[in-house]
Symmetry: C2
Subunit: 498 residues, 2 copies
């Protein structure tokens, strides 16, 4: 109100809610148990042991026990809700242009004390990092980069296990009692042929969730930002640990050493890349085609929901419509693009396989996006710069391989004529960064003001302003839905925020 008196509309201060969230989750659980108990008739089942997994502790009246527990939680929740406010707030402005002004101008004298960010959609907000200071966020950022580097090195372990499995003799020495089983032809075929790739795929499928975890502690305030950052990390992880690991087929240290000798990169690549052509053709088929098929069949969610229903007695109503995991799908699509660009002149046989993959992918993903997934957030084209960067990287890699191959074949004229190509690609990239990247960063005054003016004549604007005042509330501070199911007067105060 001090600096933007004409544009300011309202604000809602963020409160420290990490403890609260835990309490509310607990209350939720207890509530569910209570409703479950109430549906039962007044038999012996209402009595049980309240200790660990219901196995230990004295026998008590469970209904009374849970009600007592809920009371305690309620008290704690009220205590927490009056907890101190965090130095962060959502500020709403009357016009889009006013918001853009506050966003683009540094507010305070110190750049670290007072930062402004565009607020994400209300259900896209990631709450934990509102209480973090600039320094904490920056430190987390650095720590995450270090963790990513460690992860890339540690990924060597599953690769080593896999390489160990293909050598059965080694296994027999380690586990002598398996000798008899391993000598069976069927078992040995499974162990050497199928198991390695299964284990590798299993470990690879752990990468996207890990990267999401890393990105979530990096200081982002929106789930969409976290997913974008994870997408970027997964992409580089895959390029490094699938493309380069297979092409250079050595230890991580060896691969690092190759890249430390910049001069030798083209010739090294020229020697190593063509040798892996058949492997990557097989990879397109086994990984690309099958993944697209399993994407269509949704086998994982099917099995998961089947097991849940069978063993966890979860109610079928809790099923959410899934959103597409961009951070898992986009890097995979881009990796096949990279394979296509780098191999098209070395082994053109790979092209039909990739074209088929993209054709199937187009049909399948179009179907999935239209009929299966519900978008969790508007991407706003924010993933496109990642696609652009990856394409530029693929092109430069292709140029380098070409230079190396022409050098190997003693066509020094062709080799040196190819050298301008990566430079021109980089210049093109720099042009694109100046011409197109700003569009992804922020809206222009022209578009904002024209939108604002069309809004002025819209009668629904004032209703929207009213909505805005309550839109950005921490879900853990919102009225809790469960007391409706569980009509106990003790929890009623939870409905009103203090």
């Amino acid at each position: 109100m001090e600096y933007y008196p004409s544009a300011y509309l309202s604000h809602s201060v963020v409160r420290r809610s990490s403890k609260l969230k835990g309490l509310i989750n607990e209350a939720d659980k207890v509530c569910r148990k209570l409703t479950h108990l109430k549906t039962l008739d007044h038999s012996q089942e209402r009595f049980g042991r309240a200790g660990f997994l219901g196995l230990f502790g004295p026998k008590v009246d469970l209904l009374g026990h849970y009600e007592k527990k809920l009371e305690d939680i309620d008290y704690n929740v009220r205590l927490e809700r009056s907890s101190k406010e965090v130095a962060a707030a959502f500020v709403s402005f009357k016009t889009r242009f006013g918001a853009a002004v506050a966003l683009h101008i540094r507010q305070g004298m110190k750049p670290t004390e007072w930062t402004t960010e565009p607020s994400p959609d209300p259900d896209d907000v990631y709450w934990p990092f509102f209480s973090a200071s600039f320094f904490k966020r920056w430190f987390c950022n650095v720590a995450v980069y270090a963790a990513c580097a460690v992860l890339i090195v540690l990924f060597l372990i599953p690769v080593l296990i896999v390489q160990g499995l293909t050598h059965l003799e080694q296994l027999e020495i380690w586990f002598p009692f398996l000798k008899g089983v391993l000598r069976l032809e069927f078992v040995s075929e499974v162990v050497t042929g199928y198991l390695p790739s299964l284990i590798l795929q299993m470990f690879l499928s752990l990468v996207p969730p890990t990267m999401i975890l890393f990105s979530s502690i990096q200081g982002y305030i929106a789930l969409s930002q976290i997913e974008r950052s994870a997408c970027f990390k997964v992409l580089w992880f895959m390029i490094w640990n699938i493309f380069f690991a297979n092409v250079l087929s050595g230890s991580v240290l060896y691969r690092f050493q190759v890249f430390l000798e910049l001069k030798n990169i083209p010739s090294m690549l020229a020697v190593a890349v063509p040798g892996q052509a058949t492997f990557f053709i097989a990879y397109v088929v086994t990984s690309g085609w099958t993944n697209t098929a399993s994407e269509l069949l949704q086998l994982n969610p099917l099995f998961l929901s089947f097991f849940k229903k069978r063993f966890c007695n979860a109610s079928s109503e809790e099923f959410d419509v899934p959103s597409i995991p961009y951070h898992r799908e986009i890097p995979r699509l881009l990796l096949f693009g990279l394979l296509g660009v780098t191999y098209f002149f070395l082994a053109p046989l790979i092209l039909p396989f990739i074209v088929i993959f993209y054709c199937i992918g187009y049909v399948v993903y179009r179907h999935q996006l239209v009929n299966v997934y519900a978008p969790k957030f508007e991407t706003g084209g924010q993933f496109w710069p990642i696609v652009h960067d990856s394409t530029i990287f693929s092109l430069i890699l292709m140029h380098l391989i070409a230079i190396g191959i022409f050098g190997l074949k003693k066509l020094s004229l062709a080799s040196s004529l190819t050298i301008p190509l990566p430079i021109l690609t980089l210049i093109f990239n720099s042009y694109c960064r100046r011409r197109f990247l700003p569009i992804f960063m922020a809206y222009s005054a022209e578009s904002l003001i024209s939108k604002d003016r069309s809004d002025q004549n819209d009668p629904s604007t004032s209703a929207f302003y009213e909505e805005l005042k309550t839109a950005y509330q921490d879900p853990s501070l919102m009225p809790i839905p469960y007391p409706r199911n569980y009509d106990n007067s003790q929890t009623a105060p939870l409905l009103h925020t203090p």
Copy 2:
């Protein structure tokens, strides 16, 4: 007025003035000749040849000839002044905050069509690039980087000449007639000992003006920006062509190859750097100390003005107070900082020399800044990021040399314990970039608004607004001062802009 109705004050459109500037310069010259002729008595001297250098062509009445010429120029100037406007303008705002808003928000839909830049001081404006489109400016930028690379490679030629001079036998073979002269002891001492460093210094003194030329075609609109960019270029040129050229003492190609093998850099530096310690101690004395002394004595301007007065009959009133050439002085100071940081643990003997250099420098430059130079523009601390970057670079270079030396002396533990140092330095750098660099980029809303509010109570503001309307006029469109000296009715219309 469309987008910023409350903050907009006035604007002045830029006109295409490059032709006009040439015409006005010509008019200026002719005018001076006319006044010179008028001071002479009506003798034969008023008649001369109007052709090339006054040597050819028929004899004419010079007074009439020049008046005719001035008339032509006047006609052309009026024609040019009505020339079409350029798609650029200086826009003034009522408040600093209003200007900052227009500056920080992208205006048009296309980022390349409509760009905003903070306008420099009126006498700091560099006019030629207002007519340039985004694409032309971007292209010039790329071309300048290429030109810098070429210059660095071409600087090999003077270095080769210098290296040739130190081998007299070679010279005798090239120029046999010099054999007699070169055999004289005095001549050979001068040629081998003094001439090489003189030639090198001469070529080096050409670098700052060349870099200013490069920066001026890079698309900047302020002289201060041009000087800052040139400072950056000269710094890297000196680090590359003085530090690395002497340390690695080989051809440019050889030096490039060293840097292409990233792994070998520390060991290469560890071998090469200590060997040049004595050379750099001598360099600090010969280049650093003497340059500071000549800075104090201002020998070059003294000789220049002496020769001008003697041979060109220039009037003594035309002498401008010089401004300090930051782009020449700052890189030199930073280079000695680099030498100090990299050599302090290899050859501590260099330290007293550098300390003395900085002490003399402090006294001399303080005196020069206070008593001799007049600042041409407010730097606003904008050179500080260059100093910071150079210091970080020096530190990392020092760490790399330390790693290499510990490796050479087989202290592998010490070597690997030093590896975190450059990483920590880079992390510190990234912190500084986030914490401090934004301060150099733009003012904060807090400071702008408080300044604006204190201005509102200032009665001189409205007078300032009036001044603002005419402040940003191209000097070639301003009333020309010379017609006052030359009171001819024919040129009077030049006083009024059409």
